[in-house]
Symmetry: C2
Subunit: 133 residues, 2 copies
């Protein structure tokens, strides 16, 4: 689960050769694939195991280790899927994916995780409440 990924390391504010924990999950809803979720975490989280992630979500695992991501910079877009994404998400030709790239930070401003997720667009929307009061 560990890989060198220089551009992701930069997003996490780590040196290019930092050894990151790489997690890939396929999320199902009602027996159908909904999202392909890729996450990378700093070396401090190498102890997280597949077993931890099978038992609960990534953020619950982080919280159980005393980390609380509280700020996230998200970039939301759309594109045709790659061949692999099309296969995993069981998409028909011309069906796009909704994408969300995110870096999350704890209250001290430390980058906690970087995510690159794609969703079956026909089954998923991202809801955002903007409050400028």
């Amino acid at each position: 689960m560990k890989k060198y990924t220089p551009s992701v390391a930069a997003a996490l504010d780590l040196p290019a050769d930092a050894e990151l924990l790489s997690i890939v999950r396929l999320r199902f809803a009602d027996g159908q694939p909904l999202a392909l979720m890729r996450n990378w975490l700093p070396p401090a989280y190498h102890g997280i195991t597949l077993k931890d992630l099978e038992a609960s979500g990534l953020y619950a695992v982080l919280r159980s280790r005393g980390t609380r991501p509280v700020v996230a910079a998200q970039s939301i877009g759309a594109r045709p899927p790659t061949a692999s994404e099309r296969r995993h998400l069981r998409l028909r030709p011309a069906e796009p994916v909704l994408t969300m790239t995110r870096t999350a930070f704890d209250s001290a401003g430390r980058a906690v995780e970087h995510g690159d997720h794609c969703y079956r667009a026909q089954d998923y929307t991202i809801e955002v409440l903007v409050d400028q009061r």
Copy 2:
């Protein structure tokens, strides 16, 4: 520019037969179409003219009339474009649109506008900062 649109009226918390101001704009960036923007406004804003909108953005026009949208509920998704959207946004086959549906409210909680926008996905992402501190 006025139309009956019952589902939009509901989003604006108005009766189904409310006469809404309907605005359709094609936004360009660097000489290329970027977004097809559809907005609906309550009867109070019927005085807004094409000339107002040519001179400045919709939110600037609203502010000049004493309205400040401060809360917005957005739903962000992706889909293949309609034939008309494909033509207006000059999309090639298989290129999706990024969509954003929004209802905006003023500080008193009154719905001010409902928008249904679609963007050339290859040229546009929606940036969101989530802050739960």
